[in-house]
């Protein structure tokens, strides 16, 4: 039984055009990469090749490197990423009959969207 709430605030979705994993990394992500590279160096066995972080230019490149390093340090973080943004569904009370008949639109959760 879903709980009904009296005061509901609609939150707009982000536009599909917002996504751009080819965006060049910001200074923040650049430094995040550098910090992880220090970790990589400290964990490397003698002779083990290191990632060439100078080739990390885009957010997609960065996300792949961060995933690799984070998985090494914190493998627990890979648990069920699909559920990352799911919360208990809140519903408005007293929907009209006509509104109730309409097929609900799929809700995109924060940070999640279907592939175009």
């Amino acid at each position: 039984m879903k709980k009904k709430y009296k005061l509901m605030q609609k939150v707009p979705k982000s536009p599909k055009s917002a996504y751009n994993h080819g965006r060049f990394i910001s200074s923040l992500i650049e430094h995040q990469i550098k910090h992880f590279h220090e970790v990589e160096k400290s964990l490397a066995k003698p002779g083990e090749p290191l990632t060439d972080i100078s080739k990390i230019k885009t957010e997609l490149h960065a996300s792949k490197y961060l995933q690799k390093m984070t998985a090494r340090l914190h493998p627990q973080g890979a648990e069920r990423p699909q559920k990352a943004a799911k919360t208990k569904k809140a519903v408005k009370p007293k929907r009209s009959r006509s509104a109730a008949k309409r097929k609900p639109r799929a809700k995109a959760k924060s940070g999640r969207r279907k592939k175009e």
Binding site: V11, S27, H31, Q32, E38, S63, S110
Partner: protein, 417 residues
């Protein structure tokens, strides 16, 4: 005897967003009119007449034309020398200069922006464009005087939220914690309490890498774990949430948007993250009545704010100094001035609607900064912890807006995502 809100408090959740100033996000609230009067007169936002000169000497006023994305695609400078210029209006150093918040356009104009583009740094959001932040700020408690800890970038400011100090750093460089000041997570665990940093996912990861993730992976969790912990009533005593810092492919062919609101990431996605985090607490009645959630930004990201950052209390110093060759200004920094003001909102059903905590505009106002985070959490959960900076020990308690009165369930909003 503490108010019931504090007496019943079991969890403190901090969500730290990225790089937006108070005026940019919330300054428009003081311009909202109702029946010929200001609807939110206590909020120290904009009058509409605040301005900065551009490189041609033209006076440019603040404008309600902030865009969700694409307007600040040249990431505004927020490194130490850039913020120094923004605050003082000049890059010349000297004891006789006064902070005037007149260098924001000048600073942005140095970044390959046209004269017209440089004006974008004065843009602010009309409140209706930020329904989540506006709702939370006007329904719970907003701090008029919460400042970033350092007039500088992310890493050193976030360090204040974790350690109460940046160990003398004013930049983005890696630093190794060698001092005996423990992080808030160490303190909590040593004190028999629970604490966790939740990063969004492995592709986004955390900004607390070397000092904590490498050494103590057990204090980390993912955002999915945070949601599971909310739903399962297994939330730690103290939680720190990091947003998603980059766009990347999601599971099953989906797409995950950065939700940190760092320019030039879409601000709407940050709104959705804030709403989703709030909902996770709000829709669990037991958790809702026992949790205080703080939404705060790490620093202003080079974007205009009209309030001059105050000096730090010399009686309670950080105790460190950044050498002249480290600041980029040619002058040492003694951690004696705060950074630019940022949005900060405290949420709890024990906070009366429309609470505004006065800042520098009020002689009785209270100054907050990120050292207040470990300061308040330590004092609340551990009562006392000696080995920390005088600055953190003297930092103000951000839980003071909690009262004796629990608002009825029907009086508190839920977001429809």
């Amino acid at each position: 005897m503490p108010p019931a809100g504090l007496d019943n408090l079991k969890h403190i959740v901090v969500l730290m967003m990225e790089n937006r100033s108070f005026d940019h996000m919330l300054g428009g609230l003081s311009l909202v009119m109702e029946k010929g009067k200001q609807k939110y007169p206590k909020i120290n936002g904009l009058t509409g007449n605040e301005s900065n000169p551009d490189l041609n000497g033209t006076i440019v006023k603040v404008q309600p034309n902030a865009k969700f994305q694409g307007q600040l695609d040249h990431d505004p400078d927020h490194h130490f020398p850039g913020v120094d210029l923004q605050i003082f209006g000049t890059s010349q150093q000297g004891a006789d200069r006064a902070a005037n918040m007149q260098g924001f356009i000048k600073s942005y104009a140095t970044q390959d922006t046209s004269i017209e583009q440089s004006h974008a740094i004065m843009a602010y959001f009309p409140p209706e464009n930020l329904p989540v932040l506006t709702r939370l700020a006007t329904e719970y408690a907003v701090f008029n005087g919460w400042f970033s800890s350092i007039p500088g970038p992310t890493i050193c400011n976030r360090a204040f939220a974790h350690y109460g100090t940046s160990y003398g750093n004013v930049d983005m460089n890696l630093f190794f914690v060698q001092d005996p000041i423990a992080s808030i997570y160490d303190r909590m665990i040593q004190g028999g309490r629970t604490a966790k940093i939740y990063y969004y996912d492995q592709q986004s990861s955390t900004m607390e890498i070397v000092n904590l993730l490498k050494r103590q992976p057990q204090i980390f969790g993912s955002y999915s774990q945070f949601i599971a912990d909310c739903n399962g009533n297994t939330l730690p005593d103290y939680c720190f949430i990091e947003p998603c810092y980059n766009d990347h492919p999601g599971p099953g062919g989906g797409q995950i948007l950065a939700s940190d609101q760092h320019p030039d990431h879409n601000v709407k996605e940050g709104e959705r993250l804030i709403a989703n985090t709030y909902n996770a607490i709000r829709t669990n009645q037991e958790l809702w009545e026992t949790t205080a959630m703080l939404v705060v930004y790490d620093e202003h990201g080079g974007i205009y704010d009209h309030v001059v950052p105050p000096k730090c209390d010399p009686n309670f110093p950080d105790g460190r100094s950044a050498a002249a060759d480290k600041t980029g200004t040619g002058v040492a920094f003694n951690f004696d001035r705060l950074g630019v003001r940022v949005p900060a909102i405290l949420i709890s059903p024990y906070i009366p609607r429309g609470t505004v905590i006065p800042g520098t505009e009020d002689p009785n106002g209270v100054i907050y900064e990120h050292a207040c985070i470990p300061g308040t959490v330590t004092n609340f959960f551990l009562k006392n912890f000696e080995n920390r900076t005088a600055r953190e020990k003297n930092s103000k308690n951000f839980l003071t807006p909690l009262t004796d009165t629990l608002r009825p369930d029907d009086d508190c909003w839920v977001f429809d995502l």
